[in-house]
């Protein structure tokens, strides 16, 4: 009986809506755009946040990254000419981390330099990383060909290098990279391995820069790819003093032992305490604030928080447009009710109860919103795909956003359908029959 009524009511509703096709379509447009924008915006927000989180996770959630930073007081005093500026992390720092903090599993000291690399007559600016054999344990790189730096290389300060795929693309256009010699500075290095790029091209660099600071940022900014060389070799061949010639103030000499130390804690829970221990330890041995500690999981929290805010903002804009769509529907339904006053009168005379009239108009509104909701979902699923395809932005459509959008549209249907339906049901049958 109940199902029978529902079926008939829906049939009747479809008939009435079909009578005014154009009007019905225009009315549902509000809901269609509302629902699809909720879904699309949430998908874009979700995509951006997921991408950021992936990037951060790549940096290693168990990692603690300590970077050398030019101390602030010296930054102001760069005017002093030809002074040798000594700052930053040292080999003893790395040694201390390894020996005195039990939570620390892996310690990777890195020297990071910006260099020109030659292969035959090709030249690129690149980032040279002097590192240790166990670097891949905590860095987001993957061995593609050959091998990484070995402890033998480190021990004998071998002139070998491992390049990443971006360097391969630029330097070895036609040649097989393994076994070739590249020239960095005044020395030649034999390529023994190829690894995947450190970060993806687009957002990766930004993020990396956000995490790092000051000089490394400007150094790595325009460089293409990375070349890994044994730490001992870098130390031997390039020394620790770098001279920068800047326009007005002349030359500046800096002595930095290590640009970066990456520490891996035993597990995620130990990251924060370990960070504090490192901070205390460094504070004790460094007179100046010449280091900066970054933990990706803190960035992750930040990214999650900003993604949440992003979603709320986008979601509210979309919800407002849904609301506007709902009001549009109510408007049209009120017009429909007054236009069909006579029909209401006829139906009442033929035995329709108030409830029957109420249900009839409510079901029409619901049908409109549901049709709008479903079309909106379809459009909302297509739009992010287009965004991904054309704007190259990652998007993630969550089931939750579909349910949310559909739920809101249905709720709006009931909410804004209620009043017109109530008006229709409470019309006086005699008056409505007389209505022209």
């Amino acid at each position: 009986m109940f199902l029978f009524r529902v079926k008939r009511t829906v049939k009747l509703g479809i008939k009435s809506l079909w009578m005014h096709r154009m009007r019905s379509i225009l009315t549902t447009l509000g809901i269609i755009f509302g629902v699809s924008s909720v879904i699309a915006m949430l998908a874009i927000g979700e995509g951006a946040s997921k991408h950021a989180q992936e990037q951060i996770a790549k940096m290693g959630s168990q990692n603690i990254i300590i970077k050398s930073v030019k101390p602030p007081e010296d930054q102001e005093a760069t005017g002093q000419q030809q002074s040798l500026l000594e700052y930053g992390l040292t080999y003893s720092d790395a040694e201390r981390f390894r020996n005195s903090i039990p939570e620390v599993e892996v310690v990777v000291p890195n020297r990071i330099l910006s260099k020109k690399v030659w292969y035959r007559n090709r030249r690129i600016d690149t980032t040279v990383i002097g590192t240790v054999p166990w670097y891949p344990e905590l860095a987001p790189i993957e061995l593609k060909m050959g091998r990484f730096i070995s402890s033998v290389d480190t021990h004998y300060t071998q002139g070998i290098c491992v390049v990443d795929e971006m360097v391969v693309d630029k330097l070895f256009v036609f040649d097989y990279p393994l076994g070739q010699d590249v020239k960095i500075g005044s020395d030649y290095y034999r390529v023994v391995g190829v690894v995947s790029p450190y970060e993806s091209k687009s957002n990766g660099n930004n993020l990396n820069n956000g995490a790092s600071s000051g000089q490394t940022q400007s150094q790595e900014g325009t460089n293409v790819g990375r070349i890994y060389i044994p730490l001992t070799t870098v130390r031997n061949r390039f020394g620790e003093i770098s001279i920068q010639i800047s326009g007005s103030s002349g030359a500046n000499a800096e002595r930095v032992e290590l640009q970066e130390i990456i520490v891996k804690a035993g597990n995620i829970g130990k990251v924060l305490p370990t960070r504090d221990i490192i901070d205390t330890l460094l504070d004790r041995f460094h007179k100046k604030a010449d280091y900066q500690i970054t933990i990706p999981i803190a960035l992750l929290k930040q990214a999650k928080e900003s993604a949440r805010i992003f979603s709320i903002v986008l979601g509210s804009i979309a919800a407002i447009s849904l609301l506007v769509g709902g009001i549009g529907i109510m408007n049209i339904m009120l017009a429909t009710v007054s236009e069909r006053t006579r029909e209401i009168g006829i139906r009442r005379a033929l035995g329709a109860k108030k409830r029957d009239i109420m249900l009839q108009f409510l079901s029409e509104t619901l049908l409109l919103t549901l049709i709008g909701g479903i079309s909106g979902i379809i459009l909302g699923v297509v739009m992010p795909l287009l965004v991904t395809h054309f704007a190259n932005m990652p998007t993630v459509i969550t089931v939750y956003s579909l349910v949310l959008a559909f739920g809101i549209s249905a709720t709006i249907g009931v909410m804004f359908g209620m009043y017109p339906a109530y008006r229709a049901a409470n019309m006086d049958p005699i008056e409505s029959l007389r209505h022209e």
């Binding site: 008939r8 008939k15 009168g345 005379a349 033929l350 035995g351 329709a352 108030k354």
Partner: protein, 248 residues
């Protein structure tokens, strides 16, 4: 012991309506309403009894209370005082829901302007009143088709009202009025919007229904309808001024 209990008892005893008992009876029924600040006495203490199978014409000048009486008979309005028994049940005090049900079940309306629903075709229009009585789709379709054939529209089941002539529309309305097999068929100027030829068709159908034993009440100006009726009730100033029995 008031009248409604009496009537109910009677219904209970016989299991169905007593043949001699009026199908419709009004006792001292009055209707007043406010028009602005003025109280209008549309009906004043009407006493009326109609037997099953009668063919009644209600006539009177405009403002005589015809429409109000029609609304009252059709259970569209509540009386201000007095009682109204329809099929042995006092309907003057029923609530809106009950009244709606009674309208659908016991009254078949025929209107001057046909009042078909435009988005529905012939069969669907006939089905409307059955729908609100909860009659199953298949049964209601079958009955609607039979009724359409009865009024000579068997060929036009799926036409919409605007594709039909006035006379055809009124025939659909008659079929619709018959759908629930009501106690009374209540017509409001059924020929008022029709040319004389179509009007005659309608009169023929009404006559036929009367011969089949249906109770017909028609509010009209049309002398032709009045001449077909068995009894003519003249209303003037909210009162029954004259009743003519025309039975031969």
């Amino acid at each position: 012991m008031d009248k409604s209990e009496e009537a109910m008892q009677q219904v209970a005893e016989n299991g169905k309506l007593n043949k001699d008992m009026p199908i419709l009876s009004m006792k001292k029924l009055s209707k007043n309403y406010l028009l602005g600040e003025v109280e209008v006495h549309a009906l004043r203490e009407i006493n009326l009894a109609i037997q099953e199978g009668e063919y009644i014409a209600i006539m009177g000048p405009s403002g005589s209370g015809k429409s109000t009486l029609l609304n009252m008979i059709g259970c569209l309005d509540h009386p201000s005082s007095g009682s109204y028994y329809l099929g042995g049940e006092d309907v003057s005090l029923l609530d809106d829901n009950r009244l709606s049900l009674i309208r659908g079940e016991r009254i078949g309306f025929i209107f001057q302007s046909f009042n078909l629903i435009n988005q529905l075709n012939v069969v669907e229009n006939i089905e409307v009143s059955m729908y609100y009585q909860g009659i199953a789709e298949r049964a209601s379709f079958k009955r609607a088709k039979e009724l359409a054939e009865l009024v000579g529209l068997g060929e036009r089941l799926h036409h919409r009202p605007f594709e039909l002539s006035g006379g055809q529309q009124q025939r659909v309305a008659i079929a619709r009025a018959l759908a629930n097999d009501p106690l009374i068929i209540l017509a409001d100027e059924p020929t008022g919007n029709l040319d004389s030829e179509s009007g005659t068709d309608i009169l023929v159908i009404l006559d036929r229904l009367h011969k089949e034993g249906k109770t017909l009440i028609s509010v009209t100006h049309d002398e032709r309808i009045a001449s077909h009726a068995e009894r003519v009730i003249h209303l003037f100033d909210g009162k029954i001024s004259k009743q003519e029995d025309q039975r031969v």
